[in-house]
Each structure stands twice: as C-alpha cells, then as structure tokens.
Symmetry: C2
Subunit: 116 residues, 2 copies
DNA sequence: AAGTACAAGTTACAACTGTAACTTTTTGGA
DNA sequence: TCCAAAAAGTTACAGTTGTAACTTGTACTT
C-alpha cells in the first residue's frame, strides 16, 4: 500500500474528518495543496483503487469519501520504512541524529519521559 | 537534491568508503541490491548530474567515484522532510508515536539521555 | 420536455524511476 | 600493430506520479 505524496494530502484530510464530499475535501486542503478539481478526483480514484479510501453514495447527487485505512497503521508503516531506509532500523542512531540536529533537546526528551 | 531509493543505496556505499570504482561499488552493494552493472552505471551518472557524486579519473582505465554531499547533511534534510510530511514538524508527536509502536522503550530513551 | 450546470468517471501526458541493452572508447596482450 | 575484453558513456522503455482535460450521466429550472 504505497501512498504517494500528493495522495497523502488527501488522506490527511480524510483522517481529520470522515465522509466528506469532493468539494468538502477541496475546501479543507490547505492553500498550498490547492489543485484543479480534476486532479483531486484522480487522486481520490487512485486511492480507491488501492483500497485506501472508500466512496459512498450520499444523496444520488454527490458521493462521500472516507479513509479506509487508519492513520495509525499508516504512520506505523511509514515510521518503519523511514527507520530502515535511513538508519538501518537502528533507532538509537536516529534519535542521536535528531538530537544532533537540535531538533530535540535533552529537556524535551526528559519531558517526554515524564509523560510516559 | 532529490535522491531516489535506488540511488540512495549507492550513496550509502560511497558514504562508507570514498573513491571506489564501479566494480568496487557493485561488490559492496549487499546482495539485495545487486543489479545489472548497467543499472548501477545509470544510477551513478544520474547522481553525478544531480551533483551528489563526483567521478575522478583514476588510472586512465577506470574511474573512481566519491560522494559529493555529506551523509550528515543528507540525513538532516531527510529527517526534516519526514517530520514535516508525517508529523507536521511536531517532534513530540513523532516520538510519542515511536514509543507507542514500541519501537523505543522508556529505558532506551533514558539510556540516550545518559549518553548526552 | 429540454437544456444547462455540475458531479461522476475516464483518458492523457510529461516528468521521474528502476531497470538494462546498446554503442563507443580505451588498452593490455598476441 | 591490431584485436578483443572491459570500461565509459548513451539510449530505451515500461511503470509510477502529478497534473488536468475530456466525456458521460444526472437532476434542477424553466
């Protein structure tokens, strides 16, 4: 189940709120992702082909779309792909790298630990 | 500077050890990534076009190749892309997610903190 | 009942990727 | 000196992706 970047933007919308019509989806896409209506349609149909989205007839006039795979499951997979691809699955390395980049401070990690 | 998955495998080899000939690169690629020699050549040329790899004449008979961008810089960028794409730049969220997936244990994080 | 506005659904197309064959150049040995 | 082996460099091609036009169906409005 490979979801492309353009497709992902649509999934994000559907993960936020289910059962949206095409027009509602377009409305919810942030300005950066505004594309031609046809474009969004194509992406939706591709997602349907992949089984990532389901379409339901709403009122004979319009269809509604809903995510057919959970955000959680998707993220889990993507986390794995990322970890394997760049860090050979070694999470320590990844974390150290993030810290080095100053993306995480020690304080932040401590705070995280406290939460857990 | 977009490096594709297939290209990345080559970069990884060159980040391990610089100034390798084509044949040396092929040798170092793990069995999973064994492709036809021509394939590797094409990837190398594409990387050269992108400025990610440099080729140097070694001994009139063979060329040597070396990475022209640092692993660190590349990882930094990719970390960012990943973080933005999936977590909207929110690293706490990302970490929590990793912990939820049981990819990191609290203990591991603590160990990491100790190292720092 | 007919036309038009809009939604559904299909097709198109160029750029990018993964893969590898083809062509040209070089060079070490017979 | 000339040839064959191997390297360099070029071209090809199908599948994927981002983008959007085109065609068909439907259903209000007059």
């Amino acid at each position: 189940m490979k979801i492309t970047d353009a497709e992902l933007e649509i999934m994000k919308v559907l993960w936020e709120e289910d059962n949206l019509t095409l027009n509602q989806i377009i409305e919810k896409l942030s300005s950066k992702e505004q594309k031609n209506k046809s474009t969004i349609k194509t992406l939706l149909y591709r997602l349907i082909d992949k089984g990532a989205v389901k379409s339901i007839e709403k009122n004979k006039k319009e269809n509604e779309f809903k995510a057919n795979i959970s955000r959680k499951k998707y993220l889990k997979e993507e986390n794995n792909v990322f970890l394997e691809k760049l860090y050979n699955g070694n999470i320590d390395n990844m974390l150290l790298n993030f810290v080095e980049d100053k993306k995480i401070s020690k304080e932040k990690i401590q705070k995280l630990l406290d939460i857990l």
